[in-house]
Amino acid sequence: MKPQEPIPHNYSIRRLNMIFALSSLVLLAVTGLMVGYDYIRGWKWFQLEFMRMQQERISQEIGVAQAEENKQQLADLDAQDRKNEIELARHRDQYLSAQKELDAIEGDHYRADQDYRFVKANLDAQRYITEAAVVQHLPDAPQQQAEFERQTKHLADLQLTLQESTRKRDAAKANVDQWLKKIKDAEDKKKELTASVDLLNKQLGTVDMKPFSTNWILSQPLLDFVNPVIKIDQVVLNDLSIDMNYMSVPRVDRCQTCHRAIDTPGWESKTEAARLSKELQQKLDAYQIPQEKRKETEERIAQLKRIQDAPNDILNPWRTHPKLDLYVGSASVHPLLEYGCTVCHRGQDRATEFGRAGHTPASPRMEHRWAERTALSAGFFPLPRDFEQRHWGYEENEFIETPMYPRHYYEAGCIKCHSGQMGVDRGDDITKAEQTIEIYGCYACHKIANWRFTDLRKPGPDLGGIAEKTTPEWAFRWISEPHNFRATTRMPSFFYQRNMIDPNVVPPQERAHNVKLQDAEIHAIVSFLFDKSTHRPWSPPGAGDAARGKQLVGSVGCMGCHIDTEQVKDEKTGQIRLAKREDFPLERNYGFNLTGVGTKANPAWIYNWVKNPKAYYADAPMPSLRLTDQEAADVTAYLVTMQKPAFMNTPIRPPDAQAVHDLAKGYLINTLSDVEAEAKLRSMTQHDQLVYLGQRSIEKYGCYSCHNIKGFEGLKPIGTELTVEGSKALHLFDFGFMNDEQWKNEDGTTEHVIHTVPSWVYNKLRNPRIYDDRRTKVYNDKLKMPNFHLSPEEARRIAMVVVGLTKEKVAENRMAGRDARTRLIEEGRKRVSQHNCRACHVVDGRGRDSIASTIADANFLPPDLSPEGARAQSPFLFNFLKDPTVMKIRPWVSVRMPTFHFSDEEANTLVTFFAEAGKGQQFETSRGMNPPAQNVAIGKQVFTMMRCTQCHGTTPVNPENPPVPNTADSTSLAPNLTLARMRLRHEWISDWIRRPNEMINGTRMPTNFPRDAATGGFQSPLAMAIDTPPFAQYKATLLPLFNGDEKELKRTMGDAVALTDYLRDYIWSIGITQMRTAAPGETVPAIAMPQPSLPPPTAPALKSTRNQRGAAGNSGGPGR
């Protein structure tokens, strides 16, 4: 078909064709590129890699399963199969006839069933019609009624025939089955044998990605929407929304897309596997795992062992989440479907790529290892083979507002929901971190407006009467560098810091000038404090014996809150070195270190302070140990011997007049003009200038935040508020010139600043002045935060809390500990933490390791208060807390329970806390009960049979200072039982006698009624013993009490609960009912009843006391 006539063209068609062909090919290639770009995504590689690992593991398990599967059994099963086949063939005709017969019957049965259904349907309709007729009083109601009856009868007949045919059918079926039964049984047995292998093979199939396998085909580019195996895994959390600038957006966590095995056990890291297997093993040995779960736990431990012995460790992102029972597990406290991941870890919830998800490196090494790859491959597969480098594509993305918490800071995420609690259950790191902040007093300068850190007392001592306490010379040297005087002090060093005098940071001439200015400021502060101080006369101590004082200090309980040594033996290196705060339990840092107190304070002050601290200033944290004058004198004598002469002979440079003048003028300029300021300064003497400068310097450095200083009450804390510091944007943190820099701390360690918020906070805590390096600033503009000389561990802990304080709001129902009862407990815990009770006592399972480290024999330690709530009666506890002398329960303990001068409100809070924590009724007093005489008699016999008097005294004693038993055999020390009635709750006593060890682990009270491992009930030692000859006489006395009922007696002797109740009734009878013995001429004060300061929560009602044993005992055994 030649064209009619050629036509002119602008471009040669041949060239256009060529261009057309080329461009179309390029377009095709580019379309392919687009498909590839969209298809190839980083997370797909992670899922493929995990499938490969699963395949490897499953095939390994198949190998193990096949090995176990005994071939022999399988073989003979096959043989039996063949035999059945042959036998069936022989009886083929009978089998066939049975089958035919069944089919026939099947037909009848179906017909009968069908008829039945039709008639039933008609009957239903008829019932409706009759009811309607009756209701509407229609004339033909009776006929309908009759019709209804007829049909019901007809239906009954049909029902009979239906049942008949069903019976016949079942018989025929049975007849057929018995031929097939043998084959079916063999089949089942074989299937059961190979069940585990079949299951594994089925699993293998789902994870198999060999080319051209179904999974592989279904995950090809344009097909991967049908039923993809490799897909994005997400959890939609609507009620845990993200606060995105005044909007709450539903949170959609997609972390599981790469972290495939996060909630499936079996992929733990080696360390986690070791920890978990040890923990499970412990539980197994302690019978804490219910019977049916034991086998499964053993398998789990075996699996963990296999993980530990595997050649290489499982790497993130394929690891299981540690502590699956607490996090992420479906049965855990924070199941994945309800909490997701980013609630605690933060990070970009919707991201499906490593870099965009906001992973934050903890150290520069980690940052390098994750280093961002070339841009092109950022979205493509990371090189699978470079495991060591593992370049996952970390990019410092400043557009992520909530980057993830780095390693060692994970528990920062707890604060968001647990800020209403004193401690996070099983969150030891964060609990200790918050306690560190409370003890070191960060909240004083930095306002933290959440329940945990509000209305706490000022950490530093009152400086109102400093002149009475110490000398200006000491004060000067102390303020300039407190750590020279005490290594473990909490007082930070404000002066001569890095940005003032560090040689390689501050040029020489400025350094000299700075020193002068710093000296001037210290002199000014000291002169201001001493100028404004009160001068109350304190009575001098009498003659005291230092040795007795030392013994007293060691025994009476001072070492719970104080530290008396400065040298400590380093467990690693073995030599003696300067002590650090971390060498001692946290509670011992509550009071200050006693070394050098002699040089610091004058004896008169020490004497009066030790006798009654509150006299010096009202809210002194130190309680009074009720020392007699002589004891106080002895203690003072000992304390005076603790001198640090070296500290006092460091020279003090006199204040440089010009420096004082310049500094004072610097402040005057704010209000007066230059000329007026000069005139004012000339009019003031050197001392006045110092006092004025001192006041302004105190204002500048914020001493009033931690110390009560007259004239500075109610001022705003000096530091920046930290309430939402964790949400502060990264660019608002002033890194100065320290970004990605290395710097050397004064304790020789080198730290590295990386561009993340946790790193900034950590380095700021380690040395607050580093961000001034290489910056030219006027003297007063330099950074002011003092240096606490925090160790890396302390700094990390505090930084973790700071980073955890975020502005994210969590719905009320998701906050932890919001119910009324928990609020009561938490208020109490706050008091316990404020008064440092854990120095001497174990509360909620924690504490007492301070005093334990100074007292050798554990039997002389103060009591473990874990069960206190269930044990103590509220009035007794209330009075005991107000005035501990009211009853001395453990006279042999040298450590004295101090008087804390609790207000009524505080005492009530504590009593409520102990009651609620112990799950007992809040203000319960059961003193009034009087047990029936018969119970008492029986109890007395049992009491003597159990020989309780070996340890417990039963003779009434004066509760206020009972005689001290001989402490030779320290394991037999036990409280006097006559005090029980006043002190202990009625039903707790019998409970305690039955299972002391479960209440207080390692108590001296023997376990007289051990648990029966099988049933879990209690075994009674008297069950057998009663018939033995030595017990004959007791048996004789007991018989009449049981009206001669031998069998009943035998039974009661075996019944541990009954026995303990009788014991309790007997103890109750011998108890005293009056606490404070009336001193001559003094009326006995009524026992003060604690007022329920808070609305009593809906605690369970008090259990009704068991029915009284009838005098005649006719009601058989006491009803249980």
Binding site: K2, P3, E5, P6, I7, P8, H9, S12, I13, R14, R15, N17, M18, F20, A21, S24, L25, L27, L28, T31, G32, M34, V35, R117, A121, D124, L222, F225, P228, K231, I232, Q234, V236, V252, R254, E296, G329, S330, A331, L337
Partner: protein
């Protein structure tokens, strides 16, 4: 050293003939000889590319991730359900009836197999009745009246070994007509 400027001549309007025609043909007019290779590859490539783009648009319409409500939920303990009774506790939230008989517990999906309406359980008449077209099912889910082609589907149901609760997973359904109701995951053996 630069292009030489020569004045243009006005090209006459006369129709092309002779040499000019040849010259044009030489420019590769569409003749049979040149058509097959270059142009076929061009058109094929273009068709393939456009096909690719079209399938991309198609694939675009199938989202990789769904925000549908959760399919799996915990339905309390077996003891919470009384024997022989159809429990409608989860009907609104998850579209599931839980029925407990003497031997087994099974979960029926509240979607009529006819056209997808939600049937109601009529205790008096002891049957599920679909309001849309009158389909009727027995308590077991077997269809017996109305246009419905097949019985109600059962959802996967099992006991979570960790805390002993019933777990219903609607993402897996079981059809009675395919004999799937015997599958151990279709019911809980008591």
């Amino acid at each position: 050293m630069s292009e030489e400027i020569k004045p243009y001549q006005l090209v006459p309007k006369t129709p092309l003939a002779g040499s000019a025609a040849a010259d044009i043909r030489e420019q590769g007019e569409i003749t049979r000889r040149s058509f097959p290779f270059v142009l076929t590859t061009a058109w094929l490539a273009l068709a393939a590319a456009l096909g690719g783009l079209a399938s991309i648009l198609g694939r675009f319409l199938f989202p990789n991730v769904l925000f549908e409500p959760v399919q799996k939920f915990k339905a309390g303990l077996v003891a919470d359900y009384s024997v022989g009774e159809v429990d409608e506790r989860w009907k609104d939230k998850y579209g599931i009836w839980i029925v407990r008989t003497e031997e087994i517990v099974y979960a029926l999906i509240t979607v009529c197999t006819h056209l997808g309406c939600t049937p109601n359980w009529l205790p008096t008449q002891n049957k599920f009745k679909c309001p849309c077209h009158g389909s009727g099912y027995y308590k077991s889910g077997i269809n017996f009246e109305g246009p419905t082609p097949r019985p109600l589907e059962r959802a996967k149901i099992f006991i979570d070994v960790a805390d002993g609760q019933i777990v219903v997973d609607k993402s897996k359904q079981f059809h009675q007509e395919r004999g799937e109701w015997t599958d151990p995951e279709a019911f809980i053996k008591l």
